[in-house]
Every structure is written in C-alpha cells, then in structure tokens.
C-alpha cells in the first residue's frame, strides 16, 4: 500500500499540483509556439510524453548504474583495473548533465528516423515536432528530477517512469487547454500590442493561477493515504506519562 500511495502522490503531483509548464516553467518555448491549434497541440503533447518516457528510462538506468555516487559500474571497473588503489567511492555524477542531454538528443534522432521509416503518415502529422523536442526543457527537467531522487536513493525505476509519464500528461493537459483558449482568441478582438505571444502569456498566467488551486492537494492526499492525522497530542502524552521517572 505504501508504494502505491507514493506512486499516486508522484503521479498527481507531476500532472496537476506541480505541473511542469505552469509551476516549474519548463517547456515554455513549445507551449507558446505550438499551441495555436488543438490537433497540433495534442500531437505535440503525445510526442513529448513519448520522448520523456524513453529519455527517463535511459537516464534512470544511466543514473542508477553509472552516475550515482558509489554506483556499481565505476566501482566494478575500478576494482577490476586498479585493485591496489582502493580508491574511495568513485563519483561520476559530474557527467550527469552531459550524459542526459546526449541521451535525449540521440533518442529524439533515433525516434525521428524510426517513425519516418515505418510510419510515414504519423511522421507527416507530428514529425515536425520531434526536432523541436530536443531543445525542450521539460525532458531534461524530468531527468534532473529523477537524478535528484535517485541520488538520494528514494526512487526506483517505477517511480521515475511514473513521474516521466505523468509529467508528459501534465504538459499535454496544459498545452491542450491553452490551444483551446487560443482558438477562441482568434475570434476575440485582441489589441495590436497584445497579439501573438503577449496574450498567450497573460492567458497562461491566469491558467497558472487556476492550477495553483491544487497546491494544498498534495498535503491532504499524503495525510489521507498514510492515515496519519497530525501527530495527535494524546498519544505523545500517554507515552511520556508512562515512564516519567528517568
């Protein structure tokens, strides 16, 4: 029950409470650029969700086995190669940023080639988004979140994948909502100065305001799940009166 509760908390946290776009400000460039029409926005959302999961999978494996301080592979290589140095715990976490971005760029290129070869129709509809995704901050942000938790030894593969997928879902929710609003904006009489990105930002601000309503939800779910109400004074007093004599 504990694992499932934790997963639920991560999922809702990534999708709604700490929405990637509206709270952490990652992935703003495609959010402003591609949210003009509903279908392209949804296509972009799915593409980002797919690539985020692929990148999260690879980056978790890299972090867990290579980049984490005291990970298996460097320790193993070290013992193999230079047994006598008995070097202290080897820490390759310095390489993490470069490895993540390398993995993301490579996986996006690989996916683009694969989709162009085997699904030309799919490629025609949202193939144009794929190069856009390499410079999308949301993907690297997801990898960084996973790295932070894996380094602190809190998360395994399942939690990382849940964060990635629901992060992508959160991104899709935000961009589809914005696309719906922007299509209405076409009919509205927007002042000249506000046309284009300015009105989108203002609307995004109001959307972020709405999403801020979710902030308290995390704490309440945590309380509901772990069944622990606030440490009620009763049980503390019982324990202390039991053995008041030192």
């Amino acid at each position: 029950m504990e694992l499932l509760g934790n997963l639920l908390l991560i999922a809702i946290g990534a999708a709604l409470i700490n929405n990637f776009v509206l709270t952490y400000f990652v992935g703003i460039c495609p959010f402003l650029g591609v949210s003009r029409r509903l279908d392209t926005a949804f296509g972009m959302g799915c593409a980002v969700t797919f690539v985020i999961s692929v990148a999260a999978l690879i980056s978790w494996t890299m972090t867990e086995f290579v980049l984490r301080p005291g990970a298996l592979v460097p320790g193993w290589i070290l013992n193999l190669g230079a047994r006598d140095t008995g070097a202290a715990e080897v820490d390759l976490s310095i390489l993490s940023y470069i490895v993540y971005i390398f993995v993301i760029a490579a996986s996006v290129q690989f996916v683009e080639m694969y989709v162009r070869k085997f699904y030309p129709a799919l490629y025609k509809s949202f193939g144009v988004f794929l190069p856009l995704i390499t410079t999308n901050c949301a993907i690297l942000f997801a990898c960084l979140e996973i790295m932070k938790h894996v380094n602190a030894r809190e998360w395994g593969l399942v939690e990382s994948m849940v964060l990635a997928i629901f992060g992508g879902v959160g991104f899709t929710i935000a961009i589809v909502l914005m696309a719906g609003i922007r299509e209405e904006l076409e009919l509205a009489d927007v002042p000249v100065a506000f046309r284009g990105a300015a009105i989108t930002l203002v609307v995004a601000g109001i959307l972020a305001l709405a999403f801020m309503g979710f902030t308290g939800v995390g704490a309440n779910i945590q309380k509901a799940l772990t069944g622990e109400t606030t440490a009620s004074p009763a049980d503390i007093r019982v324990e202390s009166s039991g053995e008041s004599a030192p």
Partner: protein, 217 residues
C-alpha cells in the same frame, strides 16, 4: 584510411574526440572543486548549530569559524567558545551532539527533521537542551511554502516562539494570543499560514518523539 572514414564511427569522429576532451575537463573540474562544494554543504548546517543550542547567549547569526572537527563561536560577550560536533544517526534522524571544546561537556543536541508542508517538503533543524527536555532553537533549512505568507516560517519571530518549549509534550497551534502566552506548548500560528505553521509543528513533534527517548539517557 578511407575505409575507416565511411564506417559509422568514422563519420562521427568529431563527436568522439569532443566527448573524450570534455569528459577529461569535467573530471578535472570535479576533482578541483568537489571538496570545496562538500565543505559548503557541511558548513550550511554546522554554522547554524551554535545559534540553535546556545540561543541568545550567542545572539542571532553569530559569526562561526569552522575548524577541522568543530568550530569556534563568538559569544555575545565577545569571548570565543570552541565546540566539538559529533554526528550520529538516531531514530532515523541525523543528530549532532554539541560538546564544549575544553571539557567536552554536552552543550546540547541538534536534530534534522523533514516532512510534508503545505506545498512541498520542509526541512528543519531543532536545537535541544543536553537532557533533551526542552527545545532551545529552530531553523528552517529548505521550504517551498507560499511566498509572502507561508515563507514567514523562516523568519525569526516565528522560530523564536519554539524556544523554551518543553519537549515531553506535543506542540500545538493556537490562533489566540492569550492561549499562546499562557501555555508554553501552544504556539501562536502565523496569520493566513495556519497549514504551514501546523506542518512545522507536526515535523517538530515527530522528530522530537523519535529521538527524545535515546537522547534523554
């Protein structure tokens, strides 16, 4: 030579060379700066300890000189006090035992606690008297509470409300001024940030409950 050139690796020779060079430079930077960063991390927690343990004898934000295994603190009356700090793991919390430099008498304890706040995790340091019966100080290490409302928990007014609170009874939140003044265990909540104040009290209660028994001996 031409044959190698058109193999898969041949085409990407620039990427290979760059990755080799960059890997090396990064490792160099890492070796150069790593211990400095370690020191920063440790310093952030250690520099808070005197203030938490000695409270107003040292005054808020004293200047602390970090030595190899301990530190020197400038007391309110100008004299320098040497202190040793030993780190332990008690009841699942990182706990520092603070000893006086010269005669190694125990000055107090500092425990690290964390819990779910209103928006995200809150991490705090709690100072306790040597016999762990009373809280001598509180410091918020990290929080993401609502700015201008919840983040007042890092302010001195709110933190000083915990000083002198008995550790054997749980801490509670009240809204009225009078109740807080009457009973030390009742903490006056921050206006419009009750959940944040309540979260801090929960964390304090849970941490104190976890470690009070061992430390008391």
């Amino acid at each position: 030579m031409a044959r190698i050139r058109d193999t898969y690796l041949g085409q990407a020779w620039l990427v290979l060379i760059l990755s080799l060079v960059f890997g090396g430079t990064l490792a160099g930077v890492h070796v150069g700066l790593n211990d400095r960063i370690e020191a920063n991390l440790r310093a952030e927690t250690l520099s808070r300890i005197p203030e938490l343990v000695l409270g107003d004898e040292v005054g808020s934000r004293p200047d602390v000189v970090l030595l190899e295994d301990g530190m020197e603190v400038q007391m309110a009356d100008g004299s320098m006090l040497a202190m040793q700090v030993s780190e332990q793991e008690v009841g699942g919390h990182q706990v520092f035992e603070v000893l006086r430099g010269d005669d190694r008498t125990r000055l107090g304890w500092v425990a690290r606690g964390a819990g779910q706040g209103y928006a995200d995790q809150i991490e705090i340091l709690i100072g306790l008297r040597p016999d762990a019966q009373e809280i001598t100080g509180l410091y918020v290490l990290s929080q993401k509470e609502t700015p201008a409302l919840g983040d007042a928990i890092t302010g001195l007014p709110f933190r000083s409300r915990f000083v002198g609170v008995p550790a054997d009874r749980a801490v509670e939140i009240t809204k009225e001024e009078r109740a807080a003044a009457a009973d030390r265990s009742k903490i006056l909540a921050l206006t419009a940030a009750t959940i944040s104040s309540q979260s801090v009290c929960d964390i304090v209660n849970r941490t104190v409950a976890d470690i009070r028994l061992e430390l008391g001996k």
